[in-house]
Symmetry: C2
Subunit: 360 residues, 2 copies
Amino acid sequence: MINTDRYCVIMCGGIGSRFWPYSRTNKPKQFIDFLGTGRSLLQMTFDRITHVVSSDNIIIVANEMYLQLILEQLPQIRRENILLEPARRNTAPCIAWAINHIRAINPNASVVVAPSDHLILREDAFESSIIRGFEFVESHDALLTLGITPTRPETGYGYIQIGKESCPGISEVKTFTEKPDLELAKVFLKSGEFFWNSGIFLWSVKAIYKALCKYAPDVMAVLDKDNDVYASSKESEFINQNFTSCPSISIDYAVMEKADNVYVQCVSFGWSDIGTWSALYDNSAQDINRNVLQNCQGMMYRSEGNMVMTADKKVVVAVGLNDYIIADAHDVLLICPKSEEQQIKHFVNDVKATLGDEYL
Amino acid sequence: MINTDRYCVIMCGGIGSRFWPYSRTNKPKQFIDFLGTGRSLLQMTFDRITHVVSSDNIIIVANEMYLQLILEQLPQIRRENILLEPARRNTAPCIAWAINHIRAINPNASVVVAPSDHLILREDAFESSIIRGFEFVESHDALLTLGITPTRPETGYGYIQIGKESCPGISEVKTFTEKPDLELAKVFLKSGEFFWNSGIFLWSVKAIYKALCKYAPDVMAVLDKDNDVYASSKESEFINQNFTSCPSISIDYAVMEKADNVYVQCVSFGWSDIGTWSALYDNSAQDINRNVLQNCQGMMYRSEGNMVMTADKKVVVAVGLNDYIIADAHDVLLICPKSEEQQIKHFVNDVKATLGDEYL
């Protein structure tokens, strides 16, 4: 029996520009079936959450331009559970609005906040971690974040250093850190004290509302101007008129790094934020020549270690290419060494400058 | 005033498999606008010939599956000027049929035979060469072939060794040779005696008919079974019933290498058979980084000497690729070093064996 005081907020606002040319402004990463499973990252996130939270209690926050995509991909969701941001303002305003919305429906709610575009391989472990987290935040005045046990000296993630253990598997947070360089990441990995910052949070509405008021007063000054609108017919008009006045700030920076009741649950459930083509490659099944062939039919000659993805199950004949990204969208073809994928954002800018917005 | 005794036979039967994945069974090379000029190779061939032969006197010989493509690309041609082969039987039966057809219309005709898929850059020089050739074969009992002055030690072409000069620019043929290896090709180039075999022939109907009867009696035994059918309403039925009985043999092997009245006119008009992607590359305008970008918008980073062609003017972002063929057809993407393009026929076979005929 699922606890009806438990809610989920799925943040669906990213634009995933590092996955260009697949991830596009009008259909970002979370809406794409990157793993060729037949389900997009958003759909997989939703499916996974329904095991621990009633689907009636799952709220999606997204930019208004994605309403149609969400309705297509999640036909089971109720329209009133989709909160449409009129502008991008990073995670703190997004979460603050969703918390105000849930608070108006159920002030005793507890909430898990999850990005829509992460990969989780071991769903059972995820499920029990979330339940354990709910139990903790329902019995403590605590803001909980999930810290992923690192498996490699990754330089693309932020880390959380754990402090004193409060109860089995849940510790106080000593520090949040920025993305480290490789040397530091190796030290982090070896120490056993540092965990990847997953961006998955759990808290009671009461605890996060209090923390937002204390640590993000400029956000709440906007969103608390009229508290009667939430979960009412006036909500979207109010948001459309006021949301853009919120400062653009992340929940980590606004609240988590400042509050004194922040805890981390150390977990391990095959997580990746699939932030890059290489991350997708690393998380996909490789063939005998270490090629990952996604949605295509590859004929690979003297070609190893490539990440190949096409629209429409194209036949790809590659000769003498090693460790490349070959990404063929309908109107754009990208052929780039995996080692240079950090340049993709520059390519996107060049394309924009040269050819216009059409290809973004 | 164009001489109405002059005819042209455009041979349109090739399948251009070395240009896969662009050249496909259902739309071979000659029907494709390879140079991005807006005209296919067939259309350019036709346009070029109309300067020296009345368009009413231009005959196209092609496989029956290409009728629709020909009518689309050459709307000005009369249906009765298109001869449809029920099967591929190489050039000797193709030419023998066309000659019988023209002979029934005009036994005093002279004819230029030209492939449909060659590139000629200097049309004026082509035009005057053809006129000179017509004049020669109209005044001599001669079979004339055009030999192209070689500009490099090409190993992909057959060569013709010239003998004694008969009149300015026209010589007897000493030998026809197979494609040489590189060492021999260098010797050929240096000697000044060897010319590329262009596959462009001129002759009077009388001379070639006599030669076909003498040197290709097995072909003529089939096609001369009933001489009253040509240029009549019975022609296509007769061909459909008999053409497949012809042996498959080239005009070079059947006639040109055997006859004793064969001459070569040495010409130089920027000719290429564009038989390969590299040949297309060599004959196209290169940008400052030696890339040829055909029907696409290229953003090339540290990438030089590539031959890039896409369907639908795709944006191609290439990073760290040098001297590659990047050919993106609708359902097939080929990425292959130019130096390995001889393997393309093997790739096509592999694709056929693995994925079926759909991609041929």
